[in-house]
């Protein structure tokens, strides 16, 4: 391994070292505050390291990894999400008088798994990154093991994740049989040489889709999503909704790009069918939800359906649209979960919709942030969600994928109904049911508020001036091509 390759891996090494630093801090009996602040600074260090190594990219670390603009973009998004999730976690766990020190180790290890996924170009790193992500997630979901049915959510996720990773491996084995290689680039080469895609490869890909669909909570593998979002601690739920999905989506996108699967009509049929099903069932299941966490779960199923439409074209426009959409989605979901976390009273999570009745008259700031987040999820103009959806739509129309595009438009209208229902609840004129006193560390409370303000401003900023972000994404994406 050359020096430059080591340099390119620096951010990932810092990420791995972060968990060791936290372990050492625990060994020296430091408190929650120290660990939280150190964790925050370490994540900033990761971002700094990414900026520092930008000159040596792209680097291929044969045979497993490739650190290029694509990977850097997704890793940056992941680390940003972890920064915000980490900040919100402090308030959440202090409120429950837990001493969540090991929590931060697991969060960082899980992030490392997702980051490895974004730079992997080989089945082996794909699998190990995915398992590093999910093994840490098992423990994170069941972290508050005595409350909130967390164990139930943990077991559901555990059994289904283990089952689907067996399917993933079976699919990988079939593709290995067909091509004799596990390297994405070599697989592409051999498939091109063979001329046509064989039944063996298609079966392998279909079986692999089970696992990818499970991790991205696409229909028909979405059954876990609502239960796990509801049972897991809110910061962990926001972590699953953002970091884990971004990581898996990145590697799936890279796999399909390398193999030029967009030219394969059978694969495209499969993906559009999954996209259409996800858009329809996600939105319909969300219609009658009375639980905000479950509603966000169903809404994220629908959003990944939209995202798959951007995936169909397979050219650079599609990738840009997907990255842009993911950025907007991550910011929005983080803002929504941030409100749930800040409003959660001691024992339970504030997930019942009735708790939000008349929120505006009591806590106008939080009500406005939540409203903006919901409007962005619904795709109302001036918010980031609108531009994202518009971009995806353009990518779909360019490809003439009419059926998915039409379903996207119709289901977006259905989606509007339940987002507006929550907003009308927030502004309803009635006594407030959330009672909550604070005797917390004032500093972190202010910091969380500040983070929410930044997220809201970002939502508007991207919504009004998307060109800045799009330019940035384009600059990153040319690094490898």
């Amino acid at each position: 391994m050359t020096e430059q390759q080591l340099m390119a891996l620096l951010p990932f090494m810092v990420l791995a070292a972060a968990s060791i630093v936290i372990i050492l801090l625990i060994a020296f009996r430091q408190g929650h505050t120290v660990i939280q602040v150190t964790g925050f600074l370490l994540m900033c260090l990761v971002i700094f390291a990414m900026w520092y190594v930008r000159g040596v990219l792209p680097q291929t670390i044969a045979p497993l990894l490739i650190v290029d603009g694509f990977g850097a973009l997704f890793t940056g998004l992941i680390v940003f999400c972890v920064l915000v999730v980490g900040l919100f976690s402090y308030i959440y766990f202090e409120e429950r008088e837990e001493n969540p020190r090991e929590y931060y180790i697991l969060i960082f290890l899980s992030t490392l798994g997702a980051a490895i996924l974004t730079i992997s170009r080989h089945f082996m790193s794909f699998f190990i990154g995915l398992e590093l992500l999910s093994i840490s997630l098992y423990a994170l979901i069941a972290y508050l093991r005595t409350r909130n049915n967390a164990i139930e959510a943990g077991i559901k996720y555990l059994v289904l994740a283990a089952l689907t990773s067996a399917f993933l491996l079976f699919g990988m084995a079939l593709i290995y049989m067909e091509t004799g290689s596990m390297d994405f680039a070599v697989i592409a080469q051999r498939l091109n040489a063979a001329g046509k895609s064989s039944a063996l490869f298609l079966t392998g890909f279909g079986v692999m889709m089970v696992a990818v669909g499970f991790k991205l909570a696409l229909v028909p593998f979405h059954l876990w999503a609502a239960d796990v979002y509801q049972g897991a601690p809110s910061p962990v739920a926001s972590f699953i909704a953002t970091v884990s999905k971004v990581g898996v989506f990145a590697v799936f996108l890279r796999f399909c790009q390398e193999l030029h699967l967009q030219n394969n009509s059978a694969v495209m049929m499969l993906i559009s069918a999954v996209a259409i099903l996800s858009m329809i069932s996600g939105n319909i299941l969300a219609l009658r939800q009375q639980n905000l966490k479950r509603l966000l779960a169903y809404s994220s199923i629908a959003h990944f359906g939209y995202l798959l439409v951007a995936f169909l074209p397979g050219n650079n426009t599609g990738v840009e649209a997907a990255v842009f959409y993911l950025t907007a989605y991550a910011i929005t979901i983080l803002a929504a979960f941030g409100i749930i976390i800040l409003l959660s009273p001691g024992e339970k999570d504030a997930d019942s919709l009735s708790m939000y009745r008349g929120l505006f008259w009591d806590k106008p700031f939080m009500a406005i942030v939540l409203t903006v987040a919901l409007l962005s999820l619904a795709g109302i103009p001036l918010t980031a969600g609108f531009i994202g959806k518009f971009y995806v739509l353009t990518a779909g129309v360019e490809q003439r994928a009419w059926l998915p595009v039409i379903v996207l438009v119709i289901t977006s209208v259905i989606g509007l109904y339940y987002y507006l229902r929550i907003i009308s609840t927030i502004f309803a004129d009635s006594p407030v049911t959330i009672q909550k006193e604070r005797s917390l560390n004032q500093f972190f409370y202010t910091a969380s508020y500040a983070a929410l303000v930044v997220l809201t401003l970002l939502l508007f900023g991207i919504g009004v001036m998307p060109a800045v972000i799009i330019q940035g994404i384009k600059q990153f994406l040319v690094i490898d091509r």
Partner: protein, 112 residues
């Protein structure tokens, strides 16, 4: 040995594992069936690795290492399975402490 035999054998083992996951209610047995499925995949990968190796040898050339990644992948699958089992059993034990059962049908409290 023709590769079809290996694929048929591994697919049968894999499907026995799937049937187990679908028909048993004991969380531990369900987890064991998943291990069975992983083993089926392992056998498949080793057989494929030997198949590609034989093909590379037949194509001439000495000291070919074609197929080595298949066997290394199996090694990593075993590593990951061990890690997964340790966390998984910890969660199942915790479930037993909470509800005094390992029956997956007891898991029905999360709903709207």
């Amino acid at each position: 040995m023709p590769i079809q035999y290996y694929i048929a054998f591994a697919a049968t083992l894999f499907c026995i594992g799937v049937v187990g996951v679908l028909t048993r209610r004991n969380a531990i047995i369900v987890f064991m069936c998943i291990e069975l499925m992983l083993n089926a995949v392992n056998l498949l990968l080793v057989a494929f690795s030997k198949m590609h190796h034989a093909a590379a040898l037949a194509g001439g050339g000495k000291n070919v290492t074609t197929g080595v990644e298949g066997q290394l992948f199996v090694f990593f699958i075993m590593v990951v399975a061990a890690a997964e089992v340790s966390v998984g059993l910890a969660i199942i034990v915790m479930m037993y402490r909470n509800v005094h059962s390992v029956d997956v049908n007891f898991l029905n409290r999360l709903k709207n």
